[in-house]
Structures are given as structure tokens and as C-alpha cells.
């Protein structure tokens, strides 16, 4: 029974303080902190580019843009979920003072990563336009916020679910550490779906993460909303939300004592 009653405004303020705390730590050196935060994903994309375009001679125009447009949303997804998974365990003393295993902690992780993503957008857009030769679309002004909302709705249920499960099964954290890289390669991220043999396309299309990432790439590379994929991702988000809600009702009351 929660004895700390919060209004929506207070909840939002609390979320803001939690997120700001992490952002200050991440961007400690002001500009250099910003550069380093971007550098990691760009460097990783560069490694894949060398491996697949140069060494394996993958034939795809604008491969670097394909990579970048997908890897930044992916980073938000994977770092958001893996850091949220730890959030109850790592913040055990905080939870004991909070009065309830507040679902706010995984939410702050997802929001933090969204802020990093938004801060990276200028660099991503610069790459898409300058290196890829694509046009910057005015429609991005409303399409991007829509996609941001979609990704939050998609990622948060996963984040909260794994945070709850991790309290009971502590191996969840390392398992996700293996699971996400596997998922990354199972999803068309470093290769286009076109190189997958035709009969297998349907299985790849079943992957909701593919739907989400493909929607981002369609936005950046075609300036258009990929409605079928967005609808599928939204459907998954709803289903994940429902499952997480049930999980929350069952597991949340005991987080305070198990953490």
C-alpha cells in the first residue's frame, strides 16, 4: 500500500530530477561528454561498415546511413532495457525509502536514453543528409515526435517487465547481455532484409524489433512513415503493455523486500 501519494505533476518532477542526475553524470565534461556519448555508436557503426561493406563486400548503396539510422534507436532500446533491468536492484536503498517499488525507476532509464537519442539527432541527421545525400524533410518535425512516443510505448513495458523479473531471477541481467547482441544480429540491422532468402522474409517480418527499426530507417531515408511496420510495432507495444501490467500486479508488492 503506497503511503507516498504523488500527483501527476509531482511524478513528472521526480522523473525530471532522476533523469537530470544521470544526464549530468554522463555529460560531465560538457562538450567533450557529448562527443564521447555519440562517438561510441558512430565507432561501432564504423566497425560494422568495415566488416560488412569492405571485408565481406556487402553490396548496398548508402550502407553507412542504413547502419546509423538504425543503430541510434537500437542503442536507446538496448541500453534503456538493460539499465532498467538493474534499476530496482541497484537502487535498493532508494526503494526502501520510496514506499513502493515505483515503476518510475525503469521509466527514468528509458527517458534518459531518449534524451541521449534526441541530443544525438543533429549528428544523425547531419550524417543522413551529408554522407547519404538524402533530403532533410520538414515532415520530420512531426514524424520524429510520433516515433519517439512509439518507441517509449514499446520500450517501457519491456524495461519494467525485466526490472521486475530481475528482482526474482538475478541472472536476467547477464542473460539480456547475451540476448540483445543475438537479437541485434537476428534483426536486419547490419544487413538489409533484401539479402535474406525470400522464403524466410516472413519470419523476419514477425520480429517486432525489425518493425520498429525499419520505421526509423524509413523516416530518415525516405522521409515517410512506414505505416504497416509502425502499426505492427504499436500492436506489440500494446500487447507488451498488457503483459507487463499483469506482471506488475503480481510482482511489484514484493520488490521492496526482495531487492
Amino acid at each position: 500500500m503506497p503511503t507516498v501519494k504523488r500527483s501527476p505533476r509531482q511524478f513528472a518532477e521526480f522523473l525530471y530530477l532522476l533523469a537530470r542526475q544521470e544526464l549530468k553524470a554522463r555529460y560531465k565534461g560538457r562538450f567533450l561528454g557529448y562527443v564521447w556519448a555519440l562517438a561510441y555508436t558512430f565507432a561501432l557503426a564504423f566497425v560494422y561498415w568495415i566488416a560488412f561493406k569492405i571485408i565481406m563486400r556487402l553490396d548496398m548503396p548508402n550502407y553507412s546511413v542504413y547502419l546509423i539510422a538504425g543503430m541510434f534507436p537500437w542503442a536507446w532500446l538496448s541500453v534503456g532495457v538493460t539499465s532498467a533491468t538493474r534499476s530496482f536492484v541497484v537502487n535498493a536503498p532508494l526503494i526502501k525509502e520510496m514506499g513502493l517499488a515505483h515503476a518510475i525507476l525503469p521509466l527514468s532509464n528509458v527517458v534518459q536514453e531518449m534524451v541521449h537519442f534526441i541530443l544525438a539527432l543533429p549528428a544523425v541527421i547531419a550524417w543522413v543528409v551529408l554522407a547519404g545525400g538524402y533530403d532533410a524533410a520538414v515532415s520530420w518535425l512531426w514524424q520524429i515526435p510520433l516515433m519517439l512516443a512509439l518507441q517509449v510505448a514499446f520500450v517501457y513495458p519491456l524495461a519494467l517487465a525485466f526490472a521486475l523479473i530481475n528482482v526474482h531471477v538475478r541472472d536476467t541481467e547477464p542473460l539480456l547481455g547475451i540476448g540483445f547482441p543475438l537479437l541485434f544480429f537476428a534483426t536486419p540491422m547490419v544487413y538489409p532484409i533484401s539479402i535474406v532468402p525470400e522464403p524466410l522474409h516472413q519470419y523476419f517480418e514477425l520480429n517486432p524489433f525489425h518493425a520498429l527499426m525499419e520505421s526509423w530507417r524509413s523516416l530518415f531515408m525516405a522521409g515517410a512513415l512506414d505505416l504497416p511496420h509502425i502499426a505492427y510495432a504499436a500492436g506489440f507495444a500494446l500487447a507488451a503493455g498488457a503483459v507487463t501490467w499483469l506482471l506488475y500486479r503480481k510482482l511489484a508488492p514484493r520488490v521492496g523486500e526482495l531487492v
Binding site: V4, Q10, L17, A25, G99, G256
Partner: protein, 258 residues
């Protein structure tokens, strides 16, 4: 609703299975050997009421369930049977420095902790000067918390909750901290809090202090209420029981030596 805090027929058990992990399968889970902590019910048949504006003490030996009780009152831990009801805003100080972040300054921690307690940012801003002044931290309030001593952290924590405009304060052994004059200040602040109809529930091992601050209270042992009533009597009888148990132990070991 005349009672600020109400507990009826409270039962709580900590289930046997601990969180799973490959490590515990490999190394073997270690069941607690101490009989005090290995009992089935952490709390049994617990009931008490605290009227608004009263100060209530909870005493008892280690492992008697005091911290479990406070956790249930705060809502962190869920009771298995029974009813718990608190009316009003609750602020707690259960563990020193819990909810504080070492890398943030004292000022930033005031805002964070205030927000944890449910305060609005505007409220915290309004009260910040008072909080800073009460804590006697002076310029250290702008320093990161990891540079603070335990005493400084305790003073800051206490200062925040006493200014938090809560109706009910739950305090676990962090009753009054710092030097003698600061402690006197804390006791004065608690008296003013009670004068404003604030309700206190305090867990303490310091019999002198808990008798001074609390009107009435209960004594727990092995999860049950073994004594209740005006605090002075409860504390005195507890001390007698402990003294008798000690001398019993001394006599028994003297016998064994012979």
C-alpha cells in the same frame, strides 16, 4: 479519522525462497542459522493505534521485527494478513543516506530526497534556506555528498524530513544526531512537530531518548507485542527483562564452568 496510524492484526512472513541465481545453485543457499531470524512469522498479531499528534515508540531486541514493521507502515513491504492504515503525508528516515546520491551536492540531494518524499519542487525551493540552516552544514551544502561524514549526512537527512510538511514521520533509530546542542535542536524540532499535530513513530534502542520523546509505545519480541502502554513503563520493564536475561546467562555460564 482520529487515528493517524492504525495497525490491526498484522502478520508478515518472509518466504523461504531467496532470489534465484546460478551462483546460489552452485554455491548453495545459506539458510539463516540464528533462531531469531529463522522463525516462520516475522510479525504476528500485531496491532496498535497512534492518535494524531502523538509520539509512539517501538522498542525491542534485534530481530524482533521493528524494521519490518516500519517498512510495512511505509508501504515498501506488503503485509500478509491484517490491515494497515495511515492518514496523512508520510516522510521516513529509515536508513542513513538511503536515497542520497554521493555525486550530487548537498543542495541537489535536498531536492532529490524532497522529491522522493513527495514534495513539489516549488515547496522544496521555499524551504531550502530553512533546511540548510537547520543542518548547520553551511558551505558544505554545495559540496558533493561523498565528502560528508556520517554525522553530516544524518544532520541533512533529519533536517529534510523535519521540514517536509509531513503529517507522519517514521524514524528508524536516527532520532537525534550530531553534538549535544544539535541533538537538543532536534528534540525541540520534534516537539514543535508534535505541537502542529504531527505524528511520530520511532524505533529506537536508546531507552533514555525514546522515553523523553515518546508518549507511549510497544515492545516487540520475536515479532509479537509483549508490552504496550506509556513509554516510560514499557522502556523500564524492557530494561528489567534484558537485565534479568543477562544475569541469567551469566549464572548459566558460571554453572557450566564449575
Amino acid at each position: 479519522m482520529t487515528h493517524a496510524v492504525l495497525c490491526e492484526d498484522l502478520w508478515k512472513t518472509y518466504q523461504r525462497h531467496r532470489p534465484l541465481g546460478v551462483k546460489s545453485l552452485l554455491l548453495g543457499a545459506d539458510p539463516p542459522r540464528d533462531t531469531r531470524f529463522a522463525r516462520e512469522w516475522a510479525l504476528s498479531e500485531l496491532g496498535f493505534q497512534v492518535p494524531r499528534g502523538r509520539s509512539f515508540g517501538v522498542i525491542g531486541p534485534n530481530g524482533s521485527g521493528k524494521t519490518t514493521l516500519l517498512s510495512i507502515l511505509l508501504g515498501t513491504v506488503k503485509e500478509d494478513r491484517g490491515r494497515v492504515s495511515l492518514s496523512g503525508r508520510v516522510a521516513s528516515l529509515l536508513e542513513l543516506g538511503a536515497g542520497f546520491h554521493g555525486d550530487l551536492t548537498g543542495r541537489e540531494n535536498v531536492f532529490l530526497y524532497g522529491s522522493i518524499l513527495g514534495m513539489r519542487l516549488a515547496e522544496i525551493r521555499r524551504r531550502f534556506e530553512n533546511i540548510a540552516e537547520f543542518s548547520e552544514l553551511e558551505r558544505a551544502i554545495e559540496q558533493p555528498l561523498r565528502t560528508y561524514s556520517a554525522g553530516m549526512i544524518a544532520r541533512l537527512g533529519f533536517s529534510i524530513i523535519i521540514h517536509s510538511a509531513a503529517d507522519i514521520l517514521l524514524i528508524d533509530e536516527v532520532l537525534a544526531v550530531g553534538d549535544a546542542s544539535f541533538q537538543a535542536k532536534c528534540h525541540r524540532a520534534l516537539r514543535e512537530f508534535r505541537a502542529r499535530s504531527g505524528t511520530l513513530v520511532i524505533v529506537s534502542h536508546n531507552m533514555k531518548e525514546v522515553t523523553e520523546v515518546c508518549d507511549e509505545g510497544i515492545c516487540l519480541d520475536l515479532g509479537r507485542v509483549v508490552d504496550a502502554g506509556p513509554m516510560g513503563g514499557v522502556a523500564a520493564r524492557y530494561q528489567e527483562r534484558m537485565a534479568a536475561a543477562e544475569s541469567g546467562k551469566i549464572k548459566a555460564s558460571a554453572h557450566a564452568d564449575r
